[in-house]
């Protein structure tokens, strides 16, 4: 059977198709990379903006207003949760305080130290300020976030109120 090359038109069409395919592939890779980096940013921001403050507020609510030491850059409060994260009560039904949980901001790193821990544990980075202010039995937690991400930046405050119920 006699073989022959592509005609000019066929060549042009196939080149155009190949080019489009290449562009689509590169675009896909770029979109994928952008989504991946965007997801990393979203995760880091969600840590600073939601997960960490919500965790602090949840623990603070299970504490008691008389055993909270508010402050700038560091604060602490009594906790009745043990190492297995079980809430401990006395025979009288009152919270059995295990010690104090301390939060501290050191060089942009927010750390938490539970009563049974010897070394503080890093919770998140990208913070420039941490305060807990008392107000009539309630407390205002404020985190100053300064985040330079791959796909977006964020500078601002995250504030949450908490009232210890025990």
């Amino acid at each position: 059977m006699k073989r022959r090359g592509l005609t000019l038109v066929e060549m042009m069409v196939s080149l155009a198709l190949s080019f489009t395919l290449l562009v689509a592939m590169l675009g896909t890779l770029q979109v994928g990379q952008r989504y991946f980096l965007g997801a990393l940013d979203a995760l880091a921001l969600s840590d600073c903006q939601y997960r960490v403050p919500r965790e602090i507020v949840q623990k603070l609510m299970a504490s008691t207003a008389t055993q909270v030491t508010p402050g700038n850059s560091t604060f602490s409060f009594a906790t009745a949760f043990n190492q297995q994260n079980q809430f401990q009560v006395t025979p009288e039904g009152l919270p059995d305080w295990q010690g104090k949980t301390t939060y501290r901001l050191e060089q942009g790193r927010l750390t938490r130290q539970e009563p049974w821990e010897k070394v503080p544990r890093t919770l998140t980075r990208n913070l420039t300020g941490l305060t807990l202010k008392p107000n009539n039995g309630s407390f205002l937690l404020t985190l100053n976030v300064e985040y330079d991400g791959y796909t977006r930046d964020f500078r601002g405050e995250v504030s949450m109120w908490a009232t210890p119920v025990n």
């Binding site: 022959r4 592509l6 198709l17 190949s18 395919l21 009745a80 809430f87 919270p95 119920v165 025990n166």
Partner: protein, 292 residues
């Protein structure tokens, strides 16, 4: 056209391949958007479930305040729209553990509370005697539905459990004219709180007696010569409240409170005092709340 058979349709295959790649890309994008939406919904469901569990416990606490014998819990209550809450009541000694599961779609959250339900600790109408009362040096005398005090009473008459902590003691007494009465709560060897009502002095005082010292915590002018009086003394943690004939007359927050003890009655001026009725109610109290 003399195209070799093998090369026929090459452009079509390329086009189909390209369309397939674009289709897959589109699918991936849709999947990504769906995942984002699911994450948002999950976050929303978590917040709803947490609120539902907390509101469920609040609802149960309100039920128990109204009816201290309430134990049945509930299921499929909807304290927040689009949520369901199920609550169980577990009896743990004299306390109740309330555990509520809040649910929003497939997401669940829990909230727990330990409560001390309100109950009657002591009730005497003295129709059948006054055997619950201890009088040093003599036996209690009940006559015609009254408890007669100061017939050979040396000091005071006391009743109850030294371990009582938070309670409201209500006394119905008949006072001889121009005298008064001393009513005591949280009495222990270390000290007590005394409500000293003296018609001669013309005031009602809240006094803390501790290790031999006597400190007036609060005082209100009062001189009412009527015979029957109703006293309510509430000791709730560090807060003390005294009501006289339905009117709140004294309140005090003691930063270093005496924590437990019995009740007692001290007639003044060594005159006969008639006690008509005494009731001690344990106060309802939420002792601990947490999210398991």
């Amino acid at each position: 056209m003399g195209h070799p058979r093998k090369l026929k349709g090459y452009a079509l295959l390329m086009a189909i391949g390209l369309i397939a790649v674009l289709f897959l890309l589109g699918l991936a994008l849709v999947h990504f958007m769906t995942a984002q939406h699911s994450l948002l919904r999950k976050a929303e469901d978590t917040a709803l479930a947490r609120e539902a569990s907390r509101a469920g416990v609040d609802y149960a606490i309100a039920q128990l305040r109204g009816d201290p014998s309430w134990r049945k819990g509930f299921s499929n209550l909807s304290p927040v729209p689009a949520t369901a809450a199920n609550l169980t009541v577990q009896v743990q000694g004299d306390k109740l553990k309330l555990l509520c599961q809040g649910q929003a779609n497939q997401t669940t959250a829990f909230y727990a509370a330990l409560v001390q339900p309100g109950s009657i600790l002591l009730h005497n109408d003295f129709s059948r005697g006054a055997s619950e009362w201890a009088q040093p040096g003599s036996l209690p005398i009940a006559l015609l539905g009254f408890y007669l005090l100061n017939l050979s009473l040396d000091g005071e008459a006391s009743a109850g459990d030294p371990l009582w902590t938070d309670y409201e003691a209500e006394f119905e007494v008949l006072l001889p004219q121009a005298t008064g009465i001393g009513l005591v709560v949280r009495e222990s060897p270390a000290g007590d709180y005394l409500v000293d009502y003296s018609l001669l002095r013309g005031s009602v005082q809240l006094v803390k007696e501790f290790n031999g010292t006597r400190q007036v915590l609060a005082e209100a002018r009062r001189r009412d010569l009527q015979l029957p009086h109703n006293f309510k003394i509430r000791a709730d943690q560090a807060d003390l409240t005294v009501s006289l004939d339905g009117e709140k007359v004294l309140t005090f927050h003691d930063p270093e409170p005496l924590k437990n003890g019995r009740i007692a009655i001290r007639p003044l001026l060594n005159l006969v005092t008639l006690v008509d009725e005494v009731t001690v109610r344990q106060t309802f109290r939420v002792t601990a709340q947490w999210r398991p």
